[in-house]
């Protein structure tokens, strides 16, 4: 019975060209919409699988404003059991602040006698790309942490976790004692889509709202700028297969074929 906490963040979808908000302080998500980071989609999938395999539960947590409930519901729709929102403006929170806020929730639950055996976060959020919330959280909770986790399975004994990662080359296997923290990396699991019953469940689920204690230190952001698209100096070699000889000439010039 592994009780899992999985943390997600509402981020602008960046499948398309990025547009900054009018004041330049953030990314405008109105065209492409908002989503949770793809690492986190995998984290949710991993959480639901582990809880399903062990008969445990999944609690999904976010730190954000009321709009971020959408991401909580997305996780509820694919199988999370409970949802918690730390009511705060995510942009005011740096990675250390987020880790502290999550740690507070984890400790509170421990205090209630319902501890989380496993905490999953995305390796890095698609917008801020900080690569550190999970590790800071592990330090605060004094738990082991594996970064870049792509697969995880709880041992039969229920107190250890086998974790796989191939983000730095060949697949590395970790064997960590629970409770632990994982920062999840996309690629090892296939996130499921919600079904309609899931959506209906998610819609009706209650979202617990928590007030953060204390003010955040902030992210230290001084400004944002979108990289201007480089002036295109593309040389079109031709259309269709007729361009093949020219293309081969270029490959020769580049020295990749002789």
């Amino acid at each position: 019975m592994t009780d899992v906490l999985v943390c997600v963040k509402r981020v602008p979808d960046t499948s398309g060209e990025v547009v900054l908000s009018a004041d330049g302080s953030g990314v405008d998500g109105r065209y492409a919409g908002w989503t949770m980071s793809s690492h986190e989609e995998c984290a949710v999938e991993m959480a639901v699988t582990i809880a399903g395999d062990t008969g445990g539960s999944v609690t999904v947590l976010t730190l954000g404003d009321d709009d971020s409930v959408e991401q909580l519901r997305a996780a509820l729709a694919v199988g999370a059991d409970e949802a918690v929102r730390i009511d705060a403006a995510a942009d005011d929170y740096g990675p250390a602040d987020v880790a502290a806020a999550i740690a507070e929730v984890v400790r509170a639950r421990e205090g209630e006698g319902r501890p989380f055996d496993l905490v999953l976060v995305g390796n890095d959020a698609a917008d801020t790309g900080d690569h550190q919330v999970g590790i800071r959280l592990a330090h605060l909770l004094e738990r082991p942490v594996v970064a870049g986790a792509q697969n995880a399975a709880v041992a039969v004994s229920g107190d250890r976790l086998e974790v796989r990662s191939s983000v730095s080359g060949p697949t590395e296997v970790f064997d960590v004692p629970l409770p632990a923290v994982l920062t999840v990396w996309e690629g090892g699991v296939e996130p499921r889509y919600p079904n309609i019953s899931g959506r209906m469940r998610a819609k009706k689920a209650r979202v617990e709202v928590l007030e953060p204690s204390g003010a955040p230190q902030g992210s230290g952001r001084l400004g944002l700028r979108v990289l201007p698209p480089p002036a295109s100096d593309v040389e079109v070699l031709g259309e269709g297969k007729a361009a093949a000889p020219r293309l081969v000439d270029v490959l020769r010039e580049l020295g990749v074929v002789r």
Binding site: D13, S15, G16, E17, V19, G29, R30, Y31, A32, G33, W34, E70, R73, R192, Y193, P194, N195, I196, S197, G198, R199, M200, K203, E239
Partner: protein
């Protein structure tokens, strides 16, 4: 061919490569255009507009004949291209009220000749086994419903034109500007260079308003969200091969549809709040996640629909393995009145709009607009879609947004034919508006004008006329209606009525070539004495109706054209487009107010206010003159659309209120009352067999069919003359008739009154077919209180167009017996026109005496010449 370089000139430039642009280039090529360039800012074959995410299904039955005809033509074309898959479709009802609406749709299906039938929940479940029959009370099944591959169709049509060597298509070209020279489009600027073109068509869907604005024109539409999700894989769907093997379900009461797409079920909705976007704020291709018109899905808006869909198909959609694999807020184009926006823009010559078109109408619209561009008129009358129809206020962003927001949830709604808009009102007020409010006027809107439909102040007339007001028992028949209309009618026939006609569109044609211009445009002889008033049809080259209106000759080089408000802007463009050099058009719509005063006492009322001689012998019918109404100068015109003696009185709009007050005051001692538009446009005219443009008159009807042919055709040349001469010798393919309903009693014992649009069948319900191959339907329906009858107008096959022929009309899926009461629109009431002539004394039953209806006269057909 498809290239990446833009030619520097062409005969016609089509902007847009969605279903509409592709259909259009195909039909232009078919019609002989030889130098067509088509551009799109996106890549091919899916440039990212609404076509790319369309659900691509077609239900052919619509209450509008124009849309139905375009849809049927489109289905034929899709079928010829091999991209139509027939699946059948069922509109299901969850309530009895909706069942009534489905029965009404059956009327439309029969009227337009489309095979459909009502089905029971069990029959629905037999066709769609995963639908829970307990949730519905019935359905309306149309076997010919199908799905099309609109992207493939577009490619085929584009390539057809390319194969002819007449079309160059260039993708990834964005329009940045347009050049207008002396009111004509002359060139278009793009990010790939400029291109000169004397004709440019905007077929850019949701982006169209933005393009039009570059040339100073308006295409009044707004991008709006239609939500759609795709759920799968669903086992029952996956078991069968192909894209679709189950009928498409329209869950009418929840405003949703369920359409199989391979192993997935697509659930779409029109039930959510209207979510409007701005054309300028649609993301670019680079900014968009999927495509510019597939906006991020807003889940909360869809949740209620999800629940209802689940209720309808619990096992299929509730299957845990069926996942929501795709969900979008798809953008589509909505217009203030729901109709497409087609034709040359009134602001810029040579700049055409081909926008706000659904997949189901695309190829048909492509053909019709290509015909219009080539010959000056399409085969299918596009009157309701003509871009020229919009008044300036109707082109404003606020109006477009207000009306589309209001209309969005009517997409699958039950819309009464007389239903009134609530938003963007009031806009245009006649000068006597305040007085009308005091009289308790119930205002209906036409072209932005607030017009009294009837007056609460006339309620006492109900008692006076008793059952002669023909009260309606059924709520639907009586919705947006009042027996006061009929009471006002009877009061007008008995004594007289005063009608506010300020909504008329009025324009003067002046200049040395004014006569030549008018002669060329109208059918009737316009070279008449100054002071004559001519009622005349206006035809297109094929002899089909463009309009019917009156022309007053006010001077040698001065004609005043008066036409209906709803159609005024289209008529104005038609006149302006066809006037020769030396004649010009001045729009006086907002300068004049018109008040009608008619009835046996009309002369007494106006006579009390003027010293001018108003006697019928002196002030003859069909003439106009300036009279003095005290200190008001009034242009009085002795004509009538209600079949009574009297005048249309034209005054500068600022004196309209004065004239109104004086007439009301002078009418009081005679029992002459203000009368609403309900009388003017319905009861008054139907007793006289007067036709209405848009109902009886349209581009597909001829003079001879409408009983408006005259033995003599004027010598002067006019548009449509050749066709008129050609038609003259031949028997008409259909004949306009008036029918009376013999028995109104429905199976449940409630008396029912048709509202128009119902199919006309043989006495035993057998279908009738006219010489066009069309099935007859009711073009207008109204009470004829003076006859004590409910009268229906319809174009009947010549064999049935014989007085006394017994037929039937299908209303709400029940047959009612009717009898042909007149042919060629001969008046049912007062066929000798004694009333119009002011010869009331000679009437057999002078209505002025008793003021009651004439049941005796109505027992048998009256007014047959």
């Amino acid at each position: 061919m498809s290239t990446s370089s833009l030619p520097d000139r062409c005969d016609v430039l089509v902007i847009g490569a969605g279903i509409v642009g592709n259909s259009l280039v195909h039909h232009l090529a078919e019609l002989g255009w030889t130098d067509i360039v088509q551009i799109d800012k996106g890549p091919l074959p899916n440039p990212g507009g609404s076509t790319g995410h369309a659900s691509n299904f077609i239900f052919p039955v619509d209450h509008s004949r124009e849309i139905t005809d375009l849809t049927l033509d489109s289905m034929r074309q899709y079928d010829e291209m091999g991209v139509l898959t027939t699946s059948g479709g069922i509109e299901v009802a969850r309530t009895e009220e909706r069942m009534e609406e489905l029965r009404r749709r059956m009327s439309s299906a029969k009227a337009w000749g489309i095979e459909s039938r009502m089905v029971t929940p069990r029959e629905v479940a037999e066709m769609v086994p995963f639908l829970d029959p307990d949730v519905i009370v019935g359905g309306f099944y149309t076997p010919s419903v199908g799905v099309v591959d609109s992207l493939r169709a577009g490619t085929i049509m584009r390539e057809n034109a390319q194969a002819k060597g007449v079309l160059t298509t260039v993708a990834n070209v964005e329009v940045t500007g347009m050049t207008v020279t002396e009111g004509r489009i002359s060139a278009v600027q793009t990010d790939k260079g400029d291109i000169e073109a004397p004709v440019v068509v905007i077929a850019c869907g949701v982006w169209s308003p933005r393009l039009a604005r570059m040339a100073g024109a308006h295409i009044p539409l707004t991008p709006a969200v239609h939500q759609m999700i795709s759920v799968g894989p669903c086992e029952p769907l996956a078991e069968r091969p192909g894209e679709i093997s189950f009928p498409i379900i329209r869950d009418m009461d929840t405003f949703c549809y369920e359409r199989q797409h391979g192993s997935d079920m697509e659930v779409g909705s029109y039930a959510h709040r209207a979510i409007l976007h701005e054309p300028d704020e649609i993301p670019s291709i680079a900014q968009a996640k999927l495509s510019p018109t597939e906006m991020p899905f807003t889940e909360d808006d869809f949740d209620p629909q999800l629940e209802q869909a689940l209720e309808l198909m619990p096992e299929l959609l509730g299957d845990e393995r069926a996942e929501i694999r795709y969900a979008i807020n798809g953008l589509l184009s909505l217009t203030p009145d729901g109709a497409p926006v087609l034709g040359e823009t009134p602001e810029v010559k040579g700049l055409w709009s081909c926008a706000a078109v659904w997949i189901k109408e695309g190829p048909g619209v492509g053909r019709a607009v290509a015909e219009w561009m080539t010959h000056g008129h399409p085969e299918i009358d596009l009157g309701h879609s003509d871009i020229a129809r919009f008044y300036p206020h109707q082109r404003t962003r606020a109006h477009v947004r207000a009306r589309t927001s209001e209309a969005f949830n009517k997409t699958y709604g039950i819309v009464h034919p007389a239903e009134q808009w609530e938003s963007s009102r009031p806009i245009r007020l006649s000068p006597m508006h305040a007085s009308q409010r005091e009289l308790g006027a119930v205002f209906y809107e036409a072209a932005g004008w607030e017009r009294p439909q009837w007056y609460a102040s006339n309620e006492p007339l109900l008692e006076e006329f008793g059952d002669a007001v023909m009260p309606r028992e059924h709520e639907w028949d009586a919705r947006w209606w009042s027996p006061i209309i009929n009471a006002e009618h009877l009061a007008m026939r008995a004594r007289g009525g005063i009608v506010d006609l300020t909504a008329f569109a009025i324009f003067d044609v002046v200049g040395p070539a004014a006569l030549e211009g008018i002669q060329r445009i109208v059918v009737a002889q316009a070279d008449v004495a100054i002071g004559r008033v001519v009622y005349t049809p206006v035809l297109d080259e094929t002899g089909g109706f463009r309009s019917d209106l009156t022309v007053m000759r006010l001077g040698h080089d001065h004609f005043r054209v008066v036409t209906g408000g709803a159609h005024g802007m289209v008529d104005k463009k038609w006149f302006a487009d066809h006037l020769p050099e030396g004649a010009s058009l001045v729009d006086l719509t907002s300068a004049y107010s018109t008040i009608g005063v008619w009835g046996p006492r009309a002369g007494d009322v106006l006579g009390a206010l003027t010293d001018d001689d108003l006697s019928p012998e002196t002030f003859r019918f069909g003439t106009c003159r300036l009279i003095e109404v005290g200190d008001l100068s009034v242009l009085a015109s002795r004509i009538s659309y209600v079949g009574e003696f009297g005048w249309e009185l034209y005054v500068p709009i600022e004196t309209g209120a004065q004239l109104w007050e004086r007439l009301i005051e002078a009418g009081r001692p005679h029992g002459v009352v203000p009368v609403g538009i309900g009388v003017y446009t319905a009861t008054g005219r139907i007793e006289k067999g007067y036709r209405a443009y848009g109902a009886e008159l349209d581009a597909e009807r001829t003079l001879s069919e409408t009983g408006m042919g005259r033995p003599k055709v004027k010598d002067a040349d006019f548009i449509g003359k050749e066709a008129v001469l050609d038609q003259a010798g031949r028997p008409p393919k259909s004949v306009l008739c008036a029918m009376t309903v013999d028995d109104h009693t429905s199976a449940s014992g409630v008396k029912r009154y048709m509202l128009g649009g119902e199919p006309v069948l043989g006495r035993d319900g057998e279908p009738l077919t006219d010489g066009h191959g069309h099935h007859p339907y009711v073009t207008s329906a109204a009470s004829a209180p003076s006859l004590g009858k409910h009268v229906l107008m319809a174009f009947l096959p010549p064999e049935q167009a014989v007085v006394g022929t017994g037929l039937s009309v299908s209303y709400m899926e029940e047959l009612y017996p009717v009898t042909v009461a007149s042919v060629d629109a001969t008046p049912l009431l007062d066929p000798e026109n004694l009333r119009v002539k002011g010869r009331y004394a000679e009437l057999e039953h002078p209505a002025a005496d008793g003021g009651t209806a004439q049941p005796a006269a109505a027992a048998e057909p009256v007014g047959v010449a």
